[in-house]
Amino acid sequence: MFSSSVNLGGLVRKVPWRLSSTRKFRVRERLRDVDQNIQAIKDSGVQFKRLDVASALPSESAMPPRDKYFTFNKNSPTYRKGVHKVPKWTKITQRTNPAGF
């Protein structure tokens, strides 16, 4: 579905540029839930490579706001866009960005 301008008689999809404070609160909650899951899996005493990769992810408390609520985008002048513009963003892990960005 594509959005088009109102004066062309179309539908405007109102995705706000930035997240509200409530939505940011929920983002942090979800990040913490994933942190706890990874920690629980680590505590169970298993060891494998993907677990090391997951453990190396920055935790919610260690992430700057810039990474929590925004993500890399090569097309924007600031190389960033709101993380809520990523499809299925509440069900995927999107914590790290390309080096230097």
Partner: protein, 118 residues
């Protein structure tokens, strides 16, 4: 840890623990996994992973013995589930009475049609 902890805990556990008890991992516990988000809209792999874990509905609870295989499956769907570790002592000493959480306070005493007196 008591030797018979699993036997004593069995009434409190869902049926899939019976599979675990045939292959007891001494010193190891279980993952208690609750499905909190559905995999609708995610790749088929995520949906099939949930199926393989035995999670078919939101808020369904399963226990799996600790193993790297299960842990890898859980990592794949880590955004959709809530993972806890449960050990035998938790069950024996009553720290975990019910795997699926506290009771709702209601008990099903039968079908209204069966209890009809006329």
């Amino acid at each position: 840890m008591s030797i018979n902890w699993l036997q004593r805990a069995l009434p409190y556990l869902p049926k899939n623990v019976l599979n675990a008890s045939t292959n007891p991992a001494s010193g190891k516990g279980f993952y208690r996994v609750v499905l909190t988000r559905s995999a609708i809209g995610l790749p088929k792999e995520s949906q099939r992973t949930l199926e393989a874990l035995g999670l078919n509905k939101r808020m369904s609870v399963v226990l799996h013995p600790h193993s790297a295989d299960t842990a890898g499956q859980l990592l794949r769907v880590k955004e959709l589930v809530k993972v806890d570790n449960i050990y035998g002592n938790d069950l024996v000493q009553g720290r975990v009475r019910s795997i699926s959480g506290p009771s709702s306070g209601f008990e099903n005493i039968g079908n209204s049609q069966d209890r009809r007196r006329w």
